[in-house]
Amino acid sequence: MTIDSWLKTAIADAERRGLPEMKAGLEALARAAQALRNADFNLRANGEPPPADDRTS
Protein backbone atom coordinates (compact mmCIF):
# COMPACT_ATOMS: atom_id res chain seq x y z
CA MET A 1 0.00 0.00 0.00
CA THR A 2 1.40 3.41 -0.90
CA ILE A 3 1.61 6.09 1.76
CA ASP A 4 -0.87 8.27 -0.15
CA SER A 5 -3.50 5.57 -0.46
CA TRP A 6 -3.00 4.53 3.17
CA LEU A 7 -3.37 8.13 4.38
CA LYS A 8 -6.52 8.73 2.35
CA THR A 9 -8.10 5.53 3.69
CA ALA A 10 -7.02 6.22 7.27
CA ILE A 11 -8.40 9.76 7.33
CA ALA A 12 -11.69 8.58 5.85
CA ASP A 13 -11.93 5.81 8.45
CA ALA A 14 -11.15 8.17 11.33
CA GLU A 15 -13.84 10.57 10.12
CA ARG A 16 -16.33 7.69 9.80
CA ARG A 17 -15.54 6.75 13.43
CA GLY A 18 -16.16 10.33 14.61
CA LEU A 19 -12.47 11.12 15.15
CA PRO A 20 -11.73 13.88 12.59
CA GLU A 21 -9.20 15.45 15.00
CA MET A 22 -6.84 12.60 14.14
CA LYS A 23 -6.08 14.00 10.68
CA ALA A 24 -2.95 15.91 11.76
CA GLY A 25 -1.64 12.89 13.67
CA LEU A 26 -2.22 10.60 10.71
CA GLU A 27 -0.36 13.02 8.45
CA ALA A 28 2.58 12.96 10.90
CA LEU A 29 2.46 9.17 10.92
CA ALA A 30 2.50 9.19 7.11
CA ARG A 31 5.64 11.35 7.10
CA ALA A 32 7.28 8.96 9.57
CA ALA A 33 6.39 5.96 7.42
CA GLN A 34 7.74 7.69 4.32
CA ALA A 35 11.04 8.42 6.08
CA LEU A 36 11.38 4.76 7.05
CA ARG A 37 10.55 3.58 3.54
CA ASN A 38 13.21 5.91 2.11
CA ALA A 39 15.88 4.86 4.61
CA ASP A 40 19.16 3.51 3.32
CA PHE A 41 18.98 0.30 5.33
CA ASN A 42 16.01 -1.12 3.44
CA LEU A 43 16.65 -4.11 1.24
CA ARG A 44 14.90 -4.54 -2.12
CA ALA A 45 13.73 -7.88 -3.54
CA ASN A 46 15.18 -6.97 -6.94
CA GLY A 47 18.54 -6.07 -5.43
CA GLU A 48 18.29 -2.35 -6.20
CA PRO A 49 19.25 0.17 -3.51
CA PRO A 50 16.47 2.31 -2.01
CA PRO A 51 16.05 5.87 -3.33
CA ALA A 52 18.80 8.20 -2.07
CA ASP A 53 17.41 10.33 0.73
CA ASP A 54 19.62 12.79 2.56
CA ARG A 55 17.17 12.94 5.49
CA THR A 56 18.63 9.71 6.85
CA SER A 57 22.21 10.96 7.01
Binding site: A14, L29, R31, A35, R37, A39, F41, T56, S57
Partner: protein
Protein backbone atom coordinates in the same frame (compact mmCIF):
# COMPACT_ATOMS: atom_id res chain seq x y z
CA UNK B 1 14.94 22.68 45.71
CA UNK B 2 14.79 23.62 49.38
CA UNK B 3 18.26 23.59 50.97
CA UNK B 4 17.03 21.59 53.98
CA UNK B 5 16.07 18.56 51.88
CA UNK B 6 18.39 15.63 52.65
CA UNK B 7 19.85 13.10 50.29
CA UNK B 8 19.49 9.40 51.10
CA UNK B 9 23.20 9.25 51.88
CA UNK B 10 22.93 12.12 54.41
CA UNK B 11 19.80 10.61 55.96
CA UNK B 12 21.60 7.27 56.32
CA UNK B 13 24.53 8.86 58.13
CA UNK B 14 22.21 10.77 60.47
CA UNK B 15 20.05 7.70 61.06
CA UNK B 16 22.99 5.54 62.08
CA UNK B 17 24.39 8.37 64.23
CA UNK B 18 20.98 8.38 65.98
CA UNK B 19 20.41 12.02 65.02
CA UNK B 20 17.11 11.13 63.35
CA UNK B 21 14.72 8.20 62.93
CA UNK B 22 12.80 6.58 60.12
CA UNK B 23 9.61 7.91 61.69
CA UNK B 24 10.92 11.48 61.83
CA UNK B 25 11.97 11.43 58.17
CA UNK B 26 8.61 9.99 57.16
CA UNK B 27 6.70 12.52 59.27
CA UNK B 28 8.65 15.35 57.65
CA UNK B 29 7.74 14.10 54.17
CA UNK B 30 4.08 13.66 55.17
CA UNK B 31 4.08 17.18 56.63
CA UNK B 32 5.34 18.59 53.33
CA UNK B 33 2.79 16.55 51.39
CA UNK B 34 -0.02 17.89 53.56
CA UNK B 35 1.26 21.45 53.16
CA UNK B 36 2.12 21.48 49.45
CA UNK B 37 0.23 18.72 47.67
CA UNK B 38 -2.96 20.79 47.36
CA UNK B 39 -0.87 23.29 45.36
CA UNK B 40 1.30 20.83 43.39
CA UNK B 41 -1.04 17.83 42.93
CA UNK B 42 1.99 15.53 42.93
CA UNK B 43 0.20 12.62 44.63
CA UNK B 44 -2.83 10.64 43.54
CA UNK B 45 -2.77 8.63 46.77
CA UNK B 46 -1.02 9.48 50.06
CA UNK B 47 -0.31 6.34 52.10
CA UNK B 48 0.18 8.12 55.43
CA UNK B 49 -1.01 5.39 57.80
CA UNK B 50 0.88 2.62 56.05
CA UNK B 51 4.02 4.79 55.80
CA UNK B 52 3.93 5.55 59.53
CA UNK B 53 3.48 1.86 60.31
CA UNK B 54 6.39 0.90 58.06
CA UNK B 55 8.64 3.62 59.53
CA UNK B 56 7.94 2.62 63.15
CA UNK B 57 8.64 -1.04 62.33
CA UNK B 58 11.91 -0.12 60.61
CA UNK B 59 12.95 1.94 63.66
CA UNK B 60 12.27 -1.10 65.83
CA UNK B 61 14.32 -3.30 63.50
CA UNK B 62 17.28 -0.93 63.58
CA UNK B 63 17.14 -0.68 67.36
CA UNK B 64 17.29 -4.47 67.52
CA UNK B 65 20.35 -4.54 65.26
CA UNK B 66 18.70 -5.40 61.92
CA UNK B 67 19.99 -2.86 59.36
CA UNK B 68 18.61 -3.44 55.87
CA UNK B 69 21.18 -1.15 54.24
CA UNK B 70 21.18 2.23 52.50
CA UNK B 71 17.40 2.39 51.89
CA UNK B 72 16.47 1.45 55.47
CA UNK B 73 13.68 3.84 56.45
CA UNK B 74 13.97 6.02 53.33
CA UNK B 75 10.64 7.66 52.33
CA UNK B 76 10.02 7.00 48.64
CA UNK B 77 7.16 7.95 46.31
CA UNK B 78 5.99 5.61 43.56
CA UNK B 79 4.61 6.56 40.15
CA UNK B 80 1.02 5.34 40.04
CA UNK B 81 1.85 3.02 37.16
CA UNK B 82 3.55 0.40 39.35
CA UNK B 83 1.66 -2.11 41.46
CA UNK B 84 1.89 -1.69 45.22
CA UNK B 85 -0.06 -4.41 46.98
CA UNK B 86 -3.40 -3.44 48.45
CA UNK B 87 -3.79 -0.07 46.71
CA UNK B 88 -5.05 0.95 43.26
CA UNK B 89 -2.79 1.40 40.27
CA UNK B 90 -4.73 4.12 38.48
CA UNK B 91 -2.27 5.03 35.67
CA UNK B 92 -3.98 8.43 36.14
CA UNK B 93 -6.93 7.10 34.16
CA UNK B 94 -10.62 6.49 34.78
CA UNK B 95 -10.19 3.38 32.64
CA UNK B 96 -8.72 1.64 35.69
CA UNK B 97 -11.42 2.65 38.17
CA UNK B 98 -11.85 -0.12 40.72
CA UNK B 99 -8.44 -1.72 40.23
CA UNK B 100 -6.52 -2.79 43.36
CA UNK B 101 -3.11 -4.45 43.06
CA UNK B 102 -3.01 -7.94 44.54
CA UNK B 103 0.77 -7.94 44.94
CA UNK B 104 3.82 -5.71 44.63
CA UNK B 105 5.53 -5.38 41.27
CA UNK B 106 8.89 -7.17 41.60
CA UNK B 107 10.74 -3.83 41.56
CA UNK B 108 8.52 -2.61 44.41
CA UNK B 109 8.98 -5.86 46.32
CA UNK B 110 12.75 -5.34 46.08
CA UNK B 111 12.41 -1.82 47.47
CA UNK B 112 10.20 -3.04 50.30
CA UNK B 113 12.80 -5.70 51.13
CA UNK B 114 15.49 -3.01 51.12
CA UNK B 115 13.58 -1.06 53.79
CA UNK B 116 11.96 1.71 51.76
CA UNK B 117 8.92 3.47 53.22
CA UNK B 118 6.20 4.12 50.62
CA UNK B 119 4.66 7.55 51.22
CA UNK B 120 2.28 7.44 48.26
CA UNK B 121 1.51 7.01 44.56
CA UNK B 122 2.37 9.93 42.32
CA UNK B 123 0.53 11.65 39.50
CA UNK B 124 1.46 11.07 35.86
CA UNK B 125 0.39 11.74 32.31
CA UNK B 126 -2.46 9.28 31.70
CA UNK B 127 -1.02 5.82 30.97
CA UNK B 128 2.42 7.50 30.77
CA UNK B 129 1.53 8.65 27.26
CA UNK B 130 2.69 12.27 27.35
CA UNK B 131 5.47 14.58 28.43
CA UNK B 132 3.66 17.26 30.44
CA UNK B 133 1.46 15.45 33.00
CA UNK B 134 -1.48 17.63 31.86
CA UNK B 135 -3.70 14.78 30.66
CA UNK B 136 -4.43 13.09 33.98
CA UNK B 137 -7.78 12.01 35.35
CA UNK B 138 -6.65 13.65 38.60
CA UNK B 139 -5.66 16.99 37.08
CA UNK B 140 -2.19 18.23 36.20
CA UNK B 141 0.76 17.97 38.57
CA UNK B 142 2.61 21.26 38.93
CA UNK B 143 6.27 22.22 39.03
CA UNK B 144 7.55 23.26 42.49
CA UNK B 145 9.85 25.83 40.83
CA UNK B 146 6.82 27.56 39.25
CA UNK B 147 3.35 26.03 39.75
CA UNK B 148 2.15 27.64 36.51
CA UNK B 149 4.51 25.27 34.73
CA UNK B 150 4.56 21.56 34.03
CA UNK B 151 6.87 19.33 36.08
CA UNK B 152 7.49 17.39 32.87
CA UNK B 153 6.25 13.90 32.32
CA UNK B 154 5.14 11.41 32.24
CA UNK B 155 6.47 10.87 35.80
CA UNK B 156 5.63 14.49 36.65
CA UNK B 157 4.31 13.79 40.14
CA UNK B 158 7.50 11.90 40.92
CA UNK B 159 9.67 14.85 39.93
CA UNK B 160 7.49 17.33 41.80
CA UNK B 161 7.34 15.18 44.94
CA UNK B 162 11.11 14.93 45.06
CA UNK B 163 11.88 18.59 44.32
CA UNK B 164 9.36 19.63 46.99
CA UNK B 165 10.87 17.37 49.67
CA UNK B 166 7.84 15.08 49.86
CA UNK B 167 10.11 12.03 49.45
CA UNK B 168 13.85 11.36 49.33
CA UNK B 169 13.54 9.47 46.04
CA UNK B 170 10.86 8.43 43.60
CA UNK B 171 10.31 5.55 41.20
CA UNK B 172 9.32 6.42 37.65
CA UNK B 173 9.03 4.76 34.28
CA UNK B 174 10.72 5.93 31.09
CA UNK B 175 9.45 4.99 27.62
CA UNK B 176 10.62 8.10 25.74
CA UNK B 177 12.16 10.11 28.57
CA UNK B 178 9.54 9.93 31.32
CA UNK B 179 12.12 9.70 34.13
CA UNK B 180 14.73 12.04 32.62
CA UNK B 181 12.32 14.74 31.39
CA UNK B 182 10.65 15.43 34.77
CA UNK B 183 14.02 15.11 36.49
CA UNK B 184 15.38 17.82 34.18
CA UNK B 185 12.31 20.02 34.55
CA UNK B 186 12.30 19.74 38.35
CA UNK B 187 16.04 20.01 39.01
CA UNK B 188 16.73 16.47 40.23
CA UNK B 189 18.62 13.44 38.93
CA UNK B 190 16.83 10.85 36.76
CA UNK B 191 18.34 7.50 35.75
CA UNK B 192 17.10 5.27 32.94
CA UNK B 193 19.02 2.00 33.31
CA UNK B 194 19.89 -0.21 30.35
CA UNK B 195 16.87 -1.81 28.71
CA UNK B 196 15.64 -4.95 30.45
CA UNK B 197 17.63 -4.57 33.67
CA UNK B 198 14.84 -3.57 36.04
CA UNK B 199 11.73 -5.76 35.82
CA UNK B 200 8.67 -4.15 34.24
CA UNK B 201 6.35 -6.89 35.53
CA UNK B 202 3.53 -5.34 37.54
CA UNK B 203 3.96 -2.07 35.67
CA UNK B 204 1.19 -0.85 33.35
CA UNK B 205 2.91 -0.95 29.94
CA UNK B 206 3.09 1.79 27.35
CA UNK B 207 5.47 0.12 24.90
CA UNK B 208 7.06 -3.16 25.88
CA UNK B 209 9.75 -2.41 23.30
CA UNK B 210 10.81 0.80 25.04
CA UNK B 211 9.57 0.67 28.67
CA UNK B 212 12.12 1.08 31.48
CA UNK B 213 11.77 1.52 35.27
CA UNK B 214 14.19 3.88 36.99
CA UNK B 215 14.77 6.19 39.94
CA UNK B 216 14.53 9.93 40.39
CA UNK B 217 16.81 11.09 43.20
CA UNK B 218 18.56 14.12 44.61
CA UNK B 219 22.07 13.02 43.63
CA UNK B 220 23.80 10.51 41.38
CA UNK B 221 24.86 8.57 44.47
CA UNK B 222 21.26 8.31 45.63
CA UNK B 223 20.13 7.23 42.15
CA UNK B 224 22.73 4.47 42.28
CA UNK B 225 21.46 3.26 45.66
CA UNK B 226 17.85 3.12 44.48
CA UNK B 227 18.79 1.53 41.14
CA UNK B 228 20.57 -1.34 42.88
CA UNK B 229 17.66 -1.79 45.27
CA UNK B 230 15.26 -1.97 42.28
CA UNK B 231 17.39 -4.78 40.90
CA UNK B 232 17.14 -6.65 44.20
CA UNK B 233 20.90 -6.49 44.70
CA UNK B 234 22.42 -7.00 48.12
CA UNK B 235 22.81 -3.65 49.93
CA UNK B 236 25.75 -1.81 48.44
CA UNK B 237 27.29 1.66 48.47
CA UNK B 238 27.53 3.67 45.23
CA UNK B 239 30.51 2.69 43.07
CA UNK B 240 33.76 4.63 43.24
CA UNK B 241 33.70 7.55 40.76
CA UNK B 242 35.86 7.16 37.69
CA UNK B 243 38.99 9.37 37.90
CA UNK B 244 38.07 12.59 36.06
CA UNK B 245 41.30 12.66 34.08
CA UNK B 246 40.50 9.25 32.65
CA UNK B 247 36.99 10.12 31.47
CA UNK B 248 36.44 10.40 27.71
CA UNK B 249 33.25 12.18 26.66
CA UNK B 250 31.76 12.50 23.17
CA UNK B 251 29.51 15.44 22.31
CA UNK B 252 27.23 14.86 19.29
CA UNK B 253 26.10 18.40 18.43
CA UNK B 254 24.37 17.71 15.10
CA UNK B 255 20.69 16.87 15.81
CA UNK B 256 21.23 16.90 19.61
CA UNK B 257 22.00 20.64 19.78
CA UNK B 258 19.99 21.73 16.71
CA UNK B 259 16.74 22.60 18.53
CA UNK B 260 17.55 24.22 21.88
CA UNK B 261 16.27 27.11 23.92
CA UNK B 262 18.99 29.78 24.13
CA UNK B 263 19.39 29.53 27.91
CA UNK B 264 19.47 25.72 27.84
CA UNK B 265 22.18 25.92 25.18
CA UNK B 266 24.18 28.40 27.30
CA UNK B 267 23.95 26.22 30.43
CA UNK B 268 24.99 23.16 28.40
CA UNK B 269 28.02 24.91 26.94
CA UNK B 270 29.01 26.20 30.39
CA UNK B 271 28.70 22.70 31.89
CA UNK B 272 30.79 21.30 29.04
CA UNK B 273 33.47 23.92 29.69
CA UNK B 274 33.49 23.00 33.38
CA UNK B 275 33.96 19.27 32.80
CA UNK B 276 36.66 19.99 30.24
CA UNK B 277 38.43 22.31 32.70
CA UNK B 278 38.11 19.61 35.39
CA UNK B 279 40.20 17.32 33.22
CA UNK B 280 37.70 15.33 31.16
CA UNK B 281 38.73 14.57 27.58
CA UNK B 282 36.02 15.85 25.22
CA UNK B 283 35.60 15.01 21.53
CA UNK B 284 32.94 16.37 19.22
CA UNK B 285 31.45 13.60 17.08
CA UNK B 286 28.73 13.04 14.51
CA UNK B 287 26.05 10.35 14.74
CA UNK B 288 24.43 9.17 11.51
CA UNK B 289 20.79 8.28 10.90
CA UNK B 290 19.47 10.70 13.52
CA UNK B 291 16.67 11.70 11.12
CA UNK B 292 15.23 8.23 11.73
CA UNK B 293 14.86 8.71 15.49
CA UNK B 294 11.37 10.21 15.53
CA UNK B 295 9.96 7.97 12.75
CA UNK B 296 11.26 4.80 14.43
CA UNK B 297 9.97 5.88 17.83
CA UNK B 298 6.55 6.93 16.56
CA UNK B 299 5.74 3.76 14.63
CA UNK B 300 6.77 1.45 17.47
CA UNK B 301 5.38 3.31 20.48
CA UNK B 302 2.02 3.98 18.82
CA UNK B 303 1.52 0.40 17.67
CA UNK B 304 2.69 -1.13 20.96
CA UNK B 305 0.38 1.14 22.96
CA UNK B 306 -2.58 0.49 20.66
CA UNK B 307 -2.17 -3.27 21.00
CA UNK B 308 -2.53 -3.01 24.79
CA UNK B 309 -5.37 -0.49 24.75
CA UNK B 310 -7.48 -1.72 21.82
CA UNK B 311 -10.11 -3.55 23.93
CA UNK B 312 -10.75 -0.56 26.21
CA UNK B 313 -10.63 1.89 23.30
CA UNK B 314 -13.60 -0.08 21.98
CA UNK B 315 -15.46 -0.63 25.26
CA UNK B 316 -14.90 2.62 27.19
CA UNK B 317 -13.35 5.27 24.90
CA UNK B 318 -14.97 8.11 26.85
CA UNK B 319 -12.97 7.16 29.97
CA UNK B 320 -9.71 8.29 28.34
CA UNK B 321 -8.65 11.92 28.27
CA UNK B 322 -9.16 13.18 24.70
CA UNK B 323 -5.48 13.77 23.91
CA UNK B 324 -4.36 10.34 25.06
CA UNK B 325 -7.28 8.62 23.34
CA UNK B 326 -6.32 10.29 20.05
CA UNK B 327 -2.71 9.15 20.29
CA UNK B 328 -3.75 5.61 21.18
CA UNK B 329 -6.15 5.50 18.24
CA UNK B 330 -3.32 6.58 15.90
CA UNK B 331 -1.47 3.38 16.68
CA UNK B 332 -4.30 1.32 15.26
CA UNK B 333 -3.43 2.66 11.80
CA UNK B 334 0.26 1.64 11.81
CA UNK B 335 0.94 -0.84 9.01
CA UNK B 336 2.83 -4.01 9.88
CA UNK B 337 5.36 -3.38 7.10
CA UNK B 338 6.22 0.03 8.56
CA UNK B 339 6.48 -1.43 12.06
CA UNK B 340 8.98 -3.97 10.74
CA UNK B 341 10.97 -1.18 9.06
CA UNK B 342 10.99 0.67 12.38
CA UNK B 343 12.38 -2.41 14.14
CA UNK B 344 15.13 -2.53 11.53
CA UNK B 345 15.75 1.18 12.07
CA UNK B 346 16.07 0.56 15.79
CA UNK B 347 18.96 -1.82 15.15
CA UNK B 348 20.62 0.72 12.85
CA UNK B 349 20.37 3.40 15.54
CA UNK B 350 21.64 1.02 18.23
CA UNK B 351 24.72 0.31 16.13
CA UNK B 352 25.27 4.04 15.55
CA UNK B 353 25.22 4.76 19.32
CA UNK B 354 27.45 1.74 20.00
CA UNK B 355 29.92 3.08 17.43
CA UNK B 356 29.82 6.56 18.97
CA UNK B 357 30.67 5.03 22.34
CA UNK B 358 33.37 2.67 21.10
CA UNK B 359 36.14 5.12 21.99
CA UNK B 360 34.31 7.00 24.75
CA UNK B 361 32.90 6.40 28.24
CA UNK B 362 29.76 8.46 27.67
CA UNK B 363 27.92 10.81 25.36
CA UNK B 364 27.07 14.23 26.75
CA UNK B 365 24.11 16.24 25.49
CA UNK B 366 21.30 18.35 26.94
CA UNK B 367 18.50 16.37 28.61
CA UNK B 368 15.56 18.63 27.77
CA UNK B 369 15.70 21.22 24.97
CA UNK B 370 13.50 23.72 26.82
CA UNK B 371 12.87 24.75 30.43
CA UNK B 372 9.64 23.48 32.00
CA UNK B 373 6.80 24.68 29.73
CA UNK B 374 3.73 26.57 30.88
CA UNK B 375 0.75 24.32 31.60
CA UNK B 376 -1.61 24.53 28.64
CA UNK B 377 1.03 25.44 26.06
CA UNK B 378 1.01 23.24 22.95
CA UNK B 379 3.87 24.88 21.08
CA UNK B 380 7.13 26.54 22.05
CA UNK B 381 9.10 29.20 20.21
CA UNK B 382 12.71 28.21 19.56
CA UNK B 383 14.52 30.84 17.54
CA UNK B 384 12.20 31.70 14.66
CA UNK B 385 10.45 28.38 14.73
CA UNK B 386 7.31 27.35 16.60
CA UNK B 387 7.66 23.69 17.62
CA UNK B 388 5.14 21.22 19.11
CA UNK B 389 5.92 20.87 22.83
CA UNK B 390 5.63 17.06 22.83
CA UNK B 391 8.07 16.56 19.94
CA UNK B 392 10.59 18.96 21.44
CA UNK B 393 10.44 17.43 24.92
CA UNK B 394 11.01 13.90 23.59
CA UNK B 395 13.72 14.83 21.12
CA UNK B 396 16.83 14.20 23.23
CA UNK B 397 15.69 11.34 25.43
CA UNK B 398 13.74 9.03 23.10
CA UNK B 399 16.84 7.97 21.11
CA UNK B 400 18.07 5.97 24.10
CA UNK B 401 14.74 4.25 24.66
CA UNK B 402 15.04 3.12 21.06
CA UNK B 403 18.60 1.87 21.53
CA UNK B 404 18.33 0.76 25.17
CA UNK B 405 21.54 2.51 26.30
CA UNK B 406 21.60 3.69 29.93
CA UNK B 407 21.16 7.44 30.36
CA UNK B 408 21.08 9.85 33.27
CA UNK B 409 19.85 13.44 33.59
CA UNK B 410 21.83 15.66 35.97
CA UNK B 411 20.98 19.26 36.96
CA UNK B 412 23.25 21.85 35.33
CA UNK B 413 22.24 25.35 36.33
CA UNK B 414 19.09 27.36 35.88
CA UNK B 415 17.59 29.94 33.56
CA UNK B 416 17.52 33.60 34.60
CA UNK B 417 14.05 33.00 36.01
CA UNK B 418 15.25 30.04 38.11
CA UNK B 419 13.98 27.14 36.01
CA UNK B 420 16.26 24.08 36.05
CA UNK B 421 18.37 23.01 33.08
CA UNK B 422 19.99 19.60 32.80
CA UNK B 423 22.68 17.63 31.03
CA UNK B 424 22.29 14.02 29.93
CA UNK B 425 25.06 11.43 29.99
CA UNK B 426 24.60 8.24 27.98
CA UNK B 427 26.63 5.13 28.73
CA UNK B 428 27.59 1.97 26.90
CA UNK B 429 24.89 -0.64 26.39
CA UNK B 430 24.37 -2.92 29.39
CA UNK B 431 26.80 -0.89 31.51
CA UNK B 432 24.63 1.18 33.82
CA UNK B 433 27.20 0.97 36.61
CA UNK B 434 29.85 2.25 34.22
CA UNK B 435 27.62 5.23 33.42
CA UNK B 436 27.08 5.84 37.14
CA UNK B 437 30.85 5.93 37.72
CA UNK B 438 31.22 8.57 35.00
CA UNK B 439 28.22 10.52 36.33
CA UNK B 440 29.56 10.48 39.89
CA UNK B 441 32.86 11.88 38.60
CA UNK B 442 31.25 14.61 36.49
CA UNK B 443 28.36 15.60 38.80
CA UNK B 444 30.13 18.39 40.73
CA UNK B 445 31.39 20.03 37.52
CA UNK B 446 28.03 19.66 35.77
CA UNK B 447 26.17 21.24 38.68
CA UNK B 448 28.77 24.00 38.92
CA UNK B 449 30.15 22.48 42.18
CA UNK B 450 26.83 22.81 44.03
CA UNK B 451 25.85 19.25 44.97
CA UNK B 452 22.90 18.04 46.97
CA UNK B 453 23.81 17.24 50.56
Amino acid sequence: MSPDIMTIETFGRRLRARETTCEQATEECLRRIEADNPRLNAFILVMADEARRQARELDRELASGHDRGPLHGVPISIKDLLDVRGVPTTAASRVRDGHVAARDAPAIAHLRQAGAVFVGKTNLHEFAFGTTNEDSAFGPARNPHDPERSPGGSSGGSGASLAAGMALASIGTDTGGSVRIPAAACGVVGLKPSFGEVSTDGVVPLSQTFDHVGPLALSVGDASLVYHALLGDAPTLPPVPMPLHGVRIAVPRAYFCDVLDDEVRARFDEALDRVRTAGVHVDEINIRHTALIAPVYLQIVLADAAAYHAPTLESMPEQYTPGVRSRLELGRYVLAEDYVRALAGREVLRREIDAALAQHDALMLPALPIPAPLIGATTVQIGRSSEPIRNVMLRLTQPFNITGHPAISIPAGTTASGLPCAVQLVGCGGQTDGLIKVALACEPALRGSRTAS
